[in-house]
Symmetry: C2
Subunit: 355 residues, 2 copies
């Protein structure tokens, strides 16, 4: 690797979106290691002014010119846009950190969670590093810490996914639906919520207000959804466990932001709750919040807007001394996307030498 | 057993509650096998008139007089009231069908789900038959059918429990909270929902609107909640599997009525999705609703107000040919309580001979 000097130039592609907006906040809060920061979106947004590091910056359109001279390019855009433009940015010499699903399972693209596999970010044959899906990210940091000690062998996971996982459209849909059902007696006879909501289901297949919907993503093989398969594949790749047993059921719930998951985790070795709690209490990026008798367990309403993954309800299976039960909760727009991308970009930027 | 003739006299104790109200509907819809139906509640409700079988009946107070001459007594009252009065009813010669948690784990009280273990209702040393907890009941019928074929060995269960599981107070609390959060931008910063809701958390330890709460019941041993332990103990007892491995995490969600659960069920024998679907499609009390590509999976909004347990998302674990993943959904006020109690009472009443 050739030494690079000076402060690297950063591009934020998709700066105007749900993830991009949180990214600009994070860039303003973290230590300022960047030279120029360029904000890029679709032609629709050209000329809009957004604030980052306390300064107004004008949005430019995504094209070859916008990408030239960029050292690190974050991509927070739809899959198909990333699939087309990330290789272009890499060809211009940028290291791409991609938040979309376009490259996650490419064997020549590392999938990185800095608390778990930071080393993987250094080997990037295509010049691209990928960020896992928000649901994977909402549980993988504590699981990585427990795996390092006990050796993970199986996961059974159920999700409680927030509507902002489906972007701004998801948030708008829940808010519209809540206005239709609040102050009514709905929720007590078959289909009454569906009739009240009508066609206002937005990106979801069923009403999500006063309801839970056991389907996220698109159909994959044998009855599994694409998001269930993503969590399986991505957990295996990030943890470096290609034969990890993983069974996931994804469910959308009427929460704005912060995904929750119940996790049944089985290990090679016997576990104890005390040791597991010690590990979780000291793992970077994890908050142990676990004293139900004192009202302490994580809920999305308290976790939203925070950086770490919160873990509560730590129990050892009553029938299996190698299994733990957990309830985990993380902000899907922070660690679930923008924060993890920023952390990867900072890891990459540490290859630059101070001038 | 001595032969009994004539139509049995029925008492509904707790006729004015959330479960009792649904019971009166069910008694009006089912085949009319009863002689007198006596409606009983606390002294607060004496003189109220309720409709059952199309007739107005006056509520009387729970005392010895009210229970004398009763053949079958349904108890839909709080645990402590059932604990005191069910033995009194039994001493007066009634067969008690108890919906509370007071007697479920008593070895001399059968715990009955008519589709699964109807025979158990015939042996009742204390004159009492118990009804399982609503969350157990929302999954046990399909599991009983699958167990009969494949032999169940392990359950990993996560719940999505409706607020009406906490009675009328639960419903009122969610509705109040929804009025406070609808039409706002809440759900995006830490604690904003909690601040808006204030002390209006009713029977729940945290706000339930725009939130999920991983705690139902009271603290049991080693970090488990009382409801998690109930589901474990009751599943073992109803299925007759005292060593079944069971790990449960209970979570409350902002749904009015109908509990949902994700179930990872492991069996002695290898399973196939086709055979599992055949069993579920023909099992009494079960509806198979499982074609996600066509938008078919159960959600509480469609299941509420219906009798069966709905099952969708049937998949075989990708790593374990003995395990199935399911999403199940059932009305906690119907099969989850009043309907199952009515079915047990009808089983017991079949011991009476027509005159
Ligand atoms: N929401 C989450 O929880 C989450 C979590 C992890 C990963 N992700 C992934 O992150 C990416 C962005 O998600 P989001 O939720 O932020 O979506 P979003 O709110 O819809 O924002 C999309 C962004 O992409 C830009 N864009 C769209 N088409 C473009 C084009 N042809 N050329 C250039 N820019 C274009 C948009 O710019 P304009 O404003 O100009 O249209 C906008 O900035 C997606 O791949 C998503 O899967 C999301
Ligand atoms: N909600 C569910 O999903 C569910 C499911 C399964 C089982 N259960 C169980 O069913 C029982 C009833 O639950 P619920 O949700 O219907 O509760 P609820 O709405 O609070 O109703 C309680 C009923 O008990 C009566 N009652 C209270 N104290 C009494 C006393 N001292 N003497 C006589 N009657 C008394 C009340 O009469 P007044 O109106 O006169 O006060 C009312 O009819 C509980 O044991 C509960 O655990 C509930």
């Amino acid at each position: 690797m050739t030494a690079r000097t000076g402060r690297p130039t950063l591009a934020v592609v998709g700066a105007t979106g749900a993830v991009g907006s949180v990214m600009l906040q994070i860039l303003s809060q973290h230590a300022d290691i960047w030279g120029e920061i360029r904000l890029i979106a679709s032609p629709r947004s050209v000329g809009r002014k957004l604030t980052v590091r306390g300064e107004e910056v004008e949005v430019v359109a995504l094209d070859e010119a916008a990408l030239s001279g960029v050292d690190v390019a974050m991509f927070d855009v739809p899959d198909e846009v990333a699939r087309q433009w990330a290789p272009v940015a890499a060809a211009h010499g940028a290291v791409v950190v991609d938040n979309s699903g376009a490259f996650r399972m490419d064997p020549d693209v590392p999938l990185v969670v800095p608390e778990v596999n930071p080393h993987a970010a250094r080997v990037r044959p295509r010049g691209i590093v990928a960020n896992p899906h928000c649901t994977t990210l909402s549980m993988i940091v504590p699981l990585g810490a427990l795996h390092a000690e006990f050796g993970l062998s199986e996961l059974v996971v159920s999700s409680y996914q927030a509507v902002s996982g489906a972007g701004r459209a998801g948030i708008d849909t829940l808010r519209q639906q809540l206005s239709l059902v609040a102050g009514t007696e709905l929720g007590t006879s078959p289909g009454d919520v569906r009739r009240a909501v009508g066609d206002n289901t937005g990106p979801f297949p069923e009403p999500v207000a006063l309801n839970v919907v056991p389907w996220t993503g698109t159909p994959d093989e044998d009855g599994w959804s694409s998001e269930e398969m993503k969590i399986r594949h991505e957990s295996r790749k990030v943890l470096g466990l290609p034969r990890l047993r993983v069974a996931v059921t994804c469910v959308r719930v009427p929460v704005v932001t912060a995904h929750s998951l119940t996790v049944h985790a089985r290990f090679e070795d016997e576990v104890t709750v005390d040791r597991a709690r010690d590990i979780l209490a000291t793992a970077p990026g994890v908050v142990l919040f676990d004293d139900p008798a004192a009202g302490e367990f994580p809920t999305p309403a308290d976790v939203v807007g925070t950086d770490p993954t919160w873990v509560g309800r730590v129990r050892r299976s009553l029938d299996d001394p190698t299994a733990l039960e957990l309830f985990v909760c993380g902000d899907n727009l922070r660690k679930g996307s923008a924060l993890n991308t920023a952390q990867i970009a900072e890891l990459v930027a540490s290859e630059w030498e101070a001038p």
